[in-house]
């Protein structure tokens, strides 16, 4: 298991430089938090890694170059992501959501048949994300926190090795945050986890390493304590409480 390596990544939208030359190394098994003010280019960075935004430079994961590949090809290499606004399939049940996430490799014959039993991987994910009781409920009726867990569950069954989570705990209660944080720690045993987050309290408790972005570039990198002590970081956040 090797990690994620990003070299000189640039994303430009109609002349606007959203990400301007980013180098990033996330070793396998890390729980890396990416923070930064709005517009720092965090989500765009993830968009570039997953093939949504066109970028230059190189991005390798597990020794494979990702840039230039189509979105679904990158996903098949084990790169999974979630979105700021949860994007589960609301008209389908929890079980159907997970079953679809687990199935890109299915052949036509399997697809054209009905699901007769719950695949073991899906069952395990249901238990991990504690949604077994609501598995036949439409995903659209779940409260926000459970939708976010469903997204994480979908990454699990998708067999993603790299999790790119975009603000996974936004809008969650304290208990839900704690549970999510512990789940992330659990995941890092056999996955590489990258989290974009604004919640500093959550970050302090669950981040192993932190990357701070500002204006499309990496400003600082290190452990939580190192990053918090960095004067450049304090300058960027000046006027804002780091607690915000």
């Amino acid at each position: 298991m090797t990690g994620l390596t990003v070299r000189d990544l640039k994303v430009v939208f109609d002349g606007f430089v959203a990400v301007g030359g980013v180098d990033l190394d996330v070793p396998a098994g890390d729980v890396r938090f990416i923070i930064g003010p709005n517009g720092a280019g965090k989500t765009t960075l993830v968009d570039a890694i997953t093939g949504l935004a066109r970028a230059t430079g190189t991005v390798t994961f597990d020794g494979q170059e990702l840039l230039g590949r189509k979105v679904h090809r990158i996903a098949r290499l084990g790169v999974g992501r979630t979105f700021q606004n949860s994007t589960v399939f609301e008209e389908l049940t929890v079980l159907q959501n997970l079953d679809i996430a687990a199935g890109w490799h299915r052949g036509p014959l399997t697809l054209l048949r009905r699901r007769t039993s719950i695949p073991p991987r899906v069952q395990a994910a249901l238990e991990t994300i504690r949604l077994t009781a609501v598995r036949d409920q439409l995903a659209g009726t779940l409260p926000h926190g459970q939708k976010q867990w469903l997204e994480i569950g979908m990454l699990l069954v998708q067999d993603a090795k790299l999790f790119l989570l975009d603000e996974p705990v936004a809008g969650m209660s304290h208990e839900e945050r704690d549970a999510t944080g512990e789940l992330l720690g659990e995941l890092s045993r056999d996955h590489t986890v990258v989290v974009i987050e604004h919640d500093m309290d959550f970050l302090r408790r669950f981040a192993r390493t932190v990357t701070v972005m500002h204006a499309g570039r990496i400003l600082s990198e290190g452990t939580v304590a190192e990053v918090q002590a960095d004067p450049r970081v304090q300058e960027v956040y000046l006027g804002h409480s780091v607690e915000a």
Partner: protein, 372 residues
Amino acid sequence: MTTLQDPVIAPDPTIQPATRRFGAGTGSRAVIGFGLAAVALFGLAPVVLGDFRLGLLAKYLCLAIVAVGIGLAWGRGGMLTLGQGVFFGLGGYAMAMHLKLTDAGPGQLPDFMQLYGQLDTLPWWWKPFASPAFALAATVLLPMLVALLLGLLIFRRRVRGAYFAILSQALCAALAIFLIGQQGTTGGTNGLTDIQGFFGYDLNDPLNRRTVYFVVAAALLAVLGIAWQLMRSRYGELLVAVRDGEERVRFLGYDPANVKLVAYVVAAGMAGLAGALFVPAVGIISPAMIGVVPSIEFVIGVAVGGRAGLVGPALGAIAVAWARTALSERLPSAWTYFEGLLFILPVVFLPGGLASLAVLLRRRTAKKEVAA
């Protein structure tokens, strides 16, 4: 293990699993449904209806076959296809070409070619349609092939939503203009008319026309069966996922273009089959039945009946076609106003179509039972 809290909410009994909500039900319910439909189509209708009305019903059932395909592509797949007339027409013309050639007899030209075409020999692309096997296969495969080519080109480039609808409509307009212009070889505006026989059976004989009805009814049941299996399968779930979040599906490792392509091609095949059966049932196929206007009219029955269901589109198509016959002859002006309202009212106020009324009623009774 993690310490996620157990979910506080209990499963809501009024929310049904998606498969049931959409009406592609469990095995036993489906068998009952198919049984009832078979009894109605094969037992009841031929006894109750006279020859003329049974002939009309055969025509309506053809439209219902198109509607089942649209329900799959639009209701489940989100592809509002305003161009089913193209596939209906390809199927219809393929069948009519064969029947015209058999009517004319071996070595003879179809009547209209002698009239307008001043042709001495059959055009090369008519020749294969003399073979019944080729013609029959072409009625379904030709539309599917065209849909496959077009679908590959536009779904892969992520042309979708309104753009897809407009493109499919433009294809319809193009094909209708094309056919009208080729009077010598396609019959032009008149189309291929005056079909006399159907694989050796004289279509003027009422008994044979009843047989055509049974063929159409059987085809509708078969098409419903195919759609039912597709909707309840894993593919059906994936199709809904693509409809609601095409990009999200991409991030799960699927290429949504392929998922949409299957539904689109199947819907095209169904429209082609319907067109092929329309020819012996009605005796004519012409550009007026495949252009922009009829193509969008195919959609209306689907919207009225309930786009996302299995039987909703078929029933809606039959009901709208019946209403058209009943109203348009007596009150042509009133019919057009009524048809306009049919497009407006269900879509604005009842997006789920009449099928959603049934679901609402069921839910209300369920709640009453819980309350009692």
